[in-house]
Amino acid sequence: MKDIKEILDNYNEQPSEDVWSRLESRLDAEMPVHRTRNTVWKWAAIAVGVIAIGAGVTLGILRQSHHNEDFAEVNKTEQPTTTQPQESVVETQNATSPQNVASSQDEESTIVVEMQNAASSQNAVSLQEKKSSTVVETRQTPSLQPETPAKPVAKEAPKTNVRQEVLPPNSTLAKQLAADPVLKNLSGENVEWTPPAHLSIPNLFTPNGDGVNDLFVIQGLESYSSPRLVVRDKNNRIVYQSSNYRNNWDGGSCSDGVYSYEFTFLYNDIENQATGKVRIIRT
């Protein structure tokens, strides 16, 4: 009874809406998401890394301070406006030999050097502030760490697009636009197949005449036949369509904003469609 199989081949049916929520409850019961020991170790490792970077930065500044040591001392004596704590720092520096200062009073010498190198007005800059500025410096490097987990998100999001020169990859706008184009054949079944070339559809282009991303270019277009493109605005009105798209749409007279596209094409005589959103920015 081969016919039965063929008849049912593309048959799909939506289950009722509540099935996912029931499934999710079961998942929470049987496969709960929790902070595993591995996660704690991960954060511990990051903390250690931060401290290591902080130490490295401080050492780097100190190495610089070696050269500026003598210079700093000379300048200090010529500026009576410096506050008391600073002078005491200077005095202790004078007491010991320049070479040894770096090893014994690391942070304070760093502060002194910084004030000299700042070259701006030296008035009433309290030690406290400067201290905090060094702390801020080391704190800035930790921001590198959290970005690493963010990077996979940025990579994940634009699944078929590699061109986001205008928008920073982790901006909320980019995330909003990084709609995952869904590939379905026209029976509505999600399709998995191996095409001869990579298909990459941008989620942003900038038709402003600068020669960069001025057209809506679908990479891999030439590998498929009957490429049809329909673009609609947010009110679902068609703003562009082509039954034989040639990567030549320049946005026409569309204003800046988000549009949705349907790209239909033939591969191995099967019609497929990729849908998604694209933003036009001219400024």
Binding site: D3, I4, Y11, E13, P15, S16, W20, H198
Partner: protein, 181 residues
């Protein structure tokens, strides 16, 4: 070999990490086709939904066993069919009327018989749900999911020969019902 999967790889990676959002995305992609599979094996839509949930729990729990040697669709399909078989085995009542078949019975079904009336998937699914349970599982495994009689017998814990006979009876039932129009 360049594979354009429009995010499937990322979704699978997310599921490997038990990420709810990825699991939701996987469900959204495959629920329609998998629900169709379950409906073929179940008595009612409610039972089909239970099978669907069972099947997806199995998918999420064993997603690390997907090695990429077949397409993901094939893999998830086989997990779902296994879930249907398990469901059948666990809800099995004392089914005497089919297992106690008379092996001497001669089923004069023409193997080449084709369905002449024009029918659509909806009709077939409808009839599928009405088919007696013991006929239905054998019919589906054989005619739609391409199991051999030996495999079916192994799954259901019966003899291969009785599976052949059951299948004949299922075909006969289906053809009769389709002929009724």
């Amino acid at each position: 070999m360049t594979e354009v999967d429009f995010g499937l790889k990322e979704i699978i990676n997310g599921c490997l990490k038990n990420n709810r959002l990825s699991q939701r995305k996987l469900y959204d992609r495959y629920a329609p086709s998998m629900f169709a599979v379950c409906r073929r094996y179940a008595n009612t839509d409610a039972e089909a939904e239970d099978m669907l949930m069972e099947g997806f729990m199995k998918v999420f729990k064993s997603i690390d066993t997907y090695k990429g040697d077949s397409t993901f669709t094939t893999w998830i399909h086989s997990v779902m069919v296994n879930a249907a078989i398990s469901h059948y085995r666990s809800t099995r009542r004392f089914r005497n009327e089919v297992l106690g078949i008379n092996l001497d019975e001669e089923e004069s079904i023409n193997e080449e018989e084709r369905i002449t009336t024009s029918i659509d998937a909806q009709k077939v699914m409808e009839l599928m749900q009405r088919m007696p349970e013991t006929l239905r599982i054998v019919f589906n495994l054989r005619a739609v999911d391409d199991y051999s009689f030996a495999e079916i017998a192994k799954e259901l814990g019966t003899k291969e020969e009785s599976m052949r006979v059951t299948f004949m009876r299922a075909r006969k039932w289906m053809l009769e019902k389709l002929g009724e129009g």
